[in-house]
Amino acid sequence: MPPVAFGLSKPLSWVADMTAMEFLPVLFMVAGIVLVAGATMFVSSLLRPSNPYREKNAPYECGMDAAGEAAGGRFRVPFFILAILLVVFDVEAMFLFPWAVVLKEIGLVGYVEMFVFMLLLLVGFAYAWLKGALEWEE
């Protein structure tokens, strides 16, 4: 077994500190969110009056009674296909935002690469369209 290349680069502890420091703000942020959310819910549970009854627990307290299949917690399968199609564009949008922010720095190469990515997504979308996933089947 070949030995580890000792002394070639930075010592491990320094690298570890470096990354730990970089992620410290993230840790603070997470701790802050948990703290604020937990405190809010705890304080409000002490202060608010608690008086649940059937109408209050319904999804639309002051609307019509829930009816149909969805009321029983079941959804029609076509919704599932639509949800999957949403993912295609959701992912695209998710990558488009950071890409647009740094577009100047990454230049033409980044521009081309994003279009390759979008083309691949479009192939998937075209396939779904050809398969009739956009038709609503009763």
Binding site: S9, K10, P11, L12, A16, V109, L120
Partner: protein
């Protein structure tokens, strides 16, 4: 990265680009082709693979790094890619008739196989933990769907669901290991990782990270203790897909294991002890449990577990000889296992599934030539001398002994003697008993061609093992 670097990267990954583009085009074309013209899709898919193979072979010179060090086109990856092309093309040829019988001959079947191929190619070429992950996911996502391709069959659905859940868990474990490595070294590149760690290689965090990565990768090749999914998935999946999965994705998993494990960082963390334990346990379990199987596909699943264990011994040996022996093992295994599955797939006709071992009783009386082929593959899987299977095992043992792991070599030999029993048992059934039924093997020209190619490979490597070993040795990275 500037435009010139991007151009160089695209050039280095040209085979992958060809396969992905071809798969995308076929995905759309498949919807426009009329029913009953599936032959077009088959030959178009084969053409895509052949073009990619030519692209791969053209620059067989120096190694070219691409995409900022995440990808490399070296001789090591070329060797593995050739195994993948072989497995994919032979699966295509085996599939035509079988898909017709089972009613799964839709265009997606071929397209998904092509996407799996591209994922495996990325795995073989990846030099960064993240690009390994991308290749791994592309491969397994496609195989999840292919496993459940017999939509109306309960077994197939069950297998696919099990595979998805267990696969997702193992991927999560792998990713957690990657994140730990990044936290400790600040990089995910395999080469840079080793350079970044100059402290104690037995740092507990690092050890934990290595164990997680080992667990994630070992799951993909189906080694103990992460083998539970394998028999169920192999039994439930369409037989052609089982044949493909036991050869292609398994070889891809080993390509990644070789790259990760022989990285100086992992090599220094005593991970080989873990691998040695896994190898012994895998081979023992695969060999002993296979003894009591009635279903042919389950038997071959356990046999595939045992073979993975044997190949892991080569990983334990390490060094250039160890790597070369594993690579040769996988090449030979591709030939003999696809041949074995080819004969099982051929038996599927009408209401006869050909999945129960007893079904083969007396096969030699009616079809002596086909029975002889089965004999050849079974002997090769058992590792009996004139066949290639013997040399596959032999070179792994040589590597083990040369590196001083004599005890492991002895264990490996003893366990493969156990494994030989259940192969020979099938030979007994085929030759020593009277037939109970009339066999009607679906021997189409394409299946015949596959059997001829695999038989030629099994005998050819058995006759000229030194030449193929040299080929593997020249392909070892760094050499």
């Amino acid at each position: 990265m500037n435009a010139a670097a991007l151009y160089q990267s695209a050039l280095a990954s040209l085979p992958e680009i060809v396969v992905v583009t071809g798969a995308c085009i076929l995905l759309i074309l498949g919807q426009l082709v009329r029913k009953g013209r599936e032959d077009f899709l088959l030959w178009a898919s084969v053409t895509v693979v052949v073009i990619a193979a030519l692209m791969t072979l053209m620059p067989a010179g120096d190694a070219r790094s691409a995409y900022a060090g995440m990808f490399i086109a070296d001789r090591f990856s070329i060797f593995f890619k050739l195994i993948f092309y072989l497995a994919t093309v032979l699966t295509f040829l085996l599939s035509r008739k079988y898909a017709e019988i089972e009613g799964i001959g839709s265009s997606e079947y071929y397209v998904l196989l092509l996407f799996t191929l591209s994922g495996m190619m990325i795995m073989a070429s990846a030099t960064d933990l993240l690009s390994i992950y991308v290749g791994l996911e592309l491969t397994v996502l496609c195989t999840y769907v292919l496993t459940g391709f017999l939509r109306r069959e309960r077994r197939s659905n069950e297998a696919a669901l099990k595979y998805v859940i267990l696969g997702a868990v193992s991927t999560g474990i792998f990713l957690y290991g990657v994140s730990l490595v990044y936290g400790l070294t600040g990089t995910t590149q395999l080469d840079a990782m080793a350079a970044a760690v100059t402290g104690d290689p037995r740092d507990p965090g690092l050890l934990l990270a290595v164990v997680f990565i080992v667990a994630g990768l070992v799951f993909k090749v189906g080694a103990v203790p992460f083998h539970m999914w394998l028999p169920d998935v192999y039994e439930g999946a369409p037989t052609t897909i089982t044949a493909f999965m036991s050869v292609g994705p398994k070889a891809a998993g080993f390509a990644v294991i070789l790259r990760v494990f022989l990285n100086p960082l992992v090599a220094a963390s005593d991970a080989w002890i873990v691998v040695a334990v896994i190898a012994v346990a895998t081979m023992a379990l695969g060999s002993f449990v296979a003894l009591v199987q009635d279903n042919f596909k389950r038997l071959l699943a356990y046999s595939s577990i045992a073979h993975a264990g044997f190949a892991l011994f080569g990983v334990v040996a390490g060094g250039a000889e160890g790597i070369a022996s594993v690579m040769l093992y996988l090449l030979i295994y591709a030939f003999m296992n696809l041949g074995m599955f080819g004969t099982v797939i051929m038996m599927r006709s009408g209401d006869f599934s050909g999945e129960v071992i007893e079904d083969y009783t007396g096969f030699a009386k009616q079809h002596p030539a086909l029975a002889l082929l089965m004999l050849l593959y079974l002997f090769s899987l058992a590792g009996i001398p004139p066949t290639a299977g013997f040399f596959a095992k032999f070179y792994v043992l040589v590597a083990l002994v040369e590196r001083g792991y004599v005890v492991l070599a002895v264990i490996a030999v003893l366990l493969s003697a156990v494994a030989a029993y259940f192969y020979i048992r099938i030979v007994m059934l085929i030759y020593m008993h009277e037939p109970k039924r009339v066999f009607e093997p679906a021997l189409t020209p394409m299946v015949g061609a596959t059997l001829a190619i695999t038989a030629a490979g099994t005998i050819g490597i058995g006759l000229f093992p030194a030449w193929f070993l040299r080929l593997a040795q020249q392909s070892v990275f760094g050499g």
